[in-house]
Amino acid sequence: MLRASVRTLLERAGGIARARNARENGWDRRVMSQLADAGVLGVAARESVGGLGMGLMAAGVISEEVGRALAPEPVVPAIALAIGMMQRVCPGDTTLAVAITGEIASAFAWQERGPRGYPDQMACRFDGKALNGSKAWVAGAVGADQLLVVAQNNSQPVLVALDADGKGIYSEPRRQSDGSQLCDIDFVDAPAKVLAEGSVVSEALSGVVADATALAAAELVGVSAKALELTLDYVKTREQFGKPIGSFQVIQHRAVDLYVSQQVAEAGVSEALARMHVCTDPRARTREASRAKARACSTAKKITRESIQLHGAVGYADEFDIGLFLNRALVLSAWLGDAAYHRAQWMDAVEAKADD
């Protein structure tokens, strides 16, 4: 039901062709509004705050559909990060209500650059009025109305909100392989208002990052599902030596391997989401999120790479759609940690569990 309506909505909006268009024009505010009207942005939020209260598994279904359609809208960052964070730390704030209805688009910034990627300490400082410091890899910031930023205030974590076009904000968009942009943002005495502070912010942060990680995994599952469908159609119709290339056993066995990988990924990711759906232990949720992302990244990269090979020379041509899937898989894999990163996280979590 939910799956079918999101699929139809995204097809009517223009389908995969929009992924190409987004390179020039970014994501589409109107489509994001339509998704909000369909309840998508509030799918996991409680009904008391204007959401559908359907939880993480339903959000996973939506994320898969976003992946299948290569929709350029920052749906997972909105559901899991911006809205997920506000629901946890400031459920009564009007900022949350207008985010769920899609009137105000918020981008969530928490990561910072360190010498090896993520630093141990957050350097971004809030002094009660203004924000100073830098954030990195902010998804959905181009086109957003508002920034939600995690910072430190006297060694207490704090969540603040800023108008995206307010003063003291210097944003550098960086283009990724699928045409989307992540922003590095510098804040210099940028006026901001507090939404929440204290340990509730840091606890919520690890929760929403786990959610976003698992939903990015679901989006990847959608990307690889559709890439595999297109590739199977292609090998059934493309003829060489007088027969469809899908009649050759070497192609058949490779196609089967991709299919089996995809089935394992669908089962693994959906089980991880189901476990997170009913689990409140933060460590167990983070562990399942890592399991999901590790599986989804390795599967999507394998399927999209092999899809290029099975398409032959046209697979390398930009005008063929299959390459769009590879590019999206690269971006989603890099975001929030790739397969190797999450295997390491998962191992640590499993060992910590064994020590309990």
Binding site: V264, G268, V350
Partner: protein, 383 residues
């Protein structure tokens, strides 16, 4: 007679678990080889007394009559405790065929003897020239009065040297136009002058498989199950429920536990390269189990499994092999040692695991044959 299906799934699981844990002999847990009947006779007698020899058979034939969910639980508990399958070819293979296609007289004669293990069965399918292409089999059975006269050779016959009877596919009409036609399903007694058995020593050093030679061996015509020349289609119906078990997670799960033990004992988890490879196979096992659950749920809902169930076998057997290869790496310079390696206070037989993993991608239809099945029947790729 216990009405097992009247229990809740959880109550049934507890009963089965308690029975295994209290009654199953400790020294037979997780046997690394296929047991001969003499080794496990006492265990069989306990099962027999409880009416638990044939979990899947209908109650009227002496089985437990378990519904699908309880059948899965039974096998899960059996695997969890490392309980031997026993000499189950009779119960698993020939019994269900007799129940489905046999005459009243055949059921009356054969089924009780399968349950009591008065008859121990082996399966005569593969031949030297007919492995993956099983339908090309050539061992012939010619009717001579009241008897079939059988000539030819079977191979990879598991435990034929410890069997009293063989059920086999034989060619009864060599002139049939398609190779799948003209094949019949016949039962024969092993102890007769026309049958000779030679064991085949495996890479693991075990005598598990045999060659069986037929030189004018005889079987009474009443040993034909089902119709003459229709044995192929009949034998294929067996491959329904059983196909999920060949893809069950337990082999890989057990190996993973052993890999973890040996890796801990040898401080391998300090090595980031090893950690990554361990995490990869561990997640391969975990996500396979999630997929297995989906198929098991289909069975529990009373649905029939489609050809897509083949994917379970492909994934789990290849993962099992990868795990045993990692065990050898973790063993370092001891990787070539025969027998158990002492790790802390447990012994782990690295090579036995490695060898045990090899035939899993070959038996029950090689993984290449499984890929052919998926390609045609599931993905619809062209001929």
């Amino acid at each position: 007679m216990t009405d097992w299906n009247a229990l809740s799934d959880e109550a049934f699981r507890r009963q089965v678990r308690t029975f295994f844990e209290t009654e199953y002999p400790e020294e037979l847990r997780h046997l690394p080889h296929r047991a001969k009947f003499a080794e496990i006779r006492q265990w069989h007698e306990k099962l027999y007394a409880k009416g638990m020899v044939a979990p899947a058979w209908p109650v009227e034939y002496g089985g437990m009559g378990l519904e699908a969910s309880k059948l899965l639980i039974f096998y899960e508990e059996q695997q969890r405790w490392g309980v031997t399958r026993g000499r189950d070819m009779g119960v698993q293979m020939v019994g269900p065929l007799i129940i489905k296609f046999g005459t009243q007289a055949q059921k009356h004669y054969w089924l009780p003897r399968i349950l009591s293990c008065e008859h121990i069965w082996c399966q005569g399918y593969s031949e030297p020239g007919s492995g993956s292409d099983l339908a090309s089999l050539r061992t012939s059975a010619v009717i001579d009065g009241d008897y079939f006269v059988i000539n030819g050779q079977k191979i990879w016959t598991t435990m034929a040297h410890d069997a009293t009877h063989i059920f086999m596919l034989v060619r009864t009409d060599p002139r049939a136009t398609k190779k799948q036609e003209g094949i019949s399903f016949v039962l024969a007694e092993m102890n007769q002058p026309g049958i000779a058995v030679r064991t085949i020593t495996t890479l693991a050093g075990e005598d598990e498989f045999c060659e069986v030679f037929f030189d004018n061996a005889r079987a009474p015509c009443e040993n034909l199950i089902g119709e003459l020349n229709k044995g192929w289609a009949m034998a294929k119906t067996l491959l329904g429920f059983e196909r999920i078990f060949i893809g069950a997670p337990n082999l890989a799960q057990n190996a993973l536990v052993q890999l973890r033990t040996i890796a801990q004992g040898r401080y391998m988890f300090n090595d980031p390269v090893f950690r990554d490879r361990f995490a990869k196979v561990a997640l391969d096992v975990e996500d396979h189990a999630a997929l297995y659950t989906r198929f098991a749920d289909q069975l529990k809902r009373g649905e029939t499994l489609g050809p897509d169930v083949s994917m379970l076998k492909i994934w789990v057997t290849e993962t099992f092999q990868e795990i045993t290869e990692l065990m050898i790496e973790a063993a370092g310079p001891d990787g070539g040692m025969i027998g158990p390696l002492q790790v802390g206070n447990v012994g782990i037989d690295v090579l036995a695991n490695f060898y045990k993993a090899r035939p899993t991608t070959i038996y029950g239809g090689t993984n290449e044959i499984q890929r052919n099945i998926l390609s045609k029947a599931v993905l619809g790729l062209p001929e």
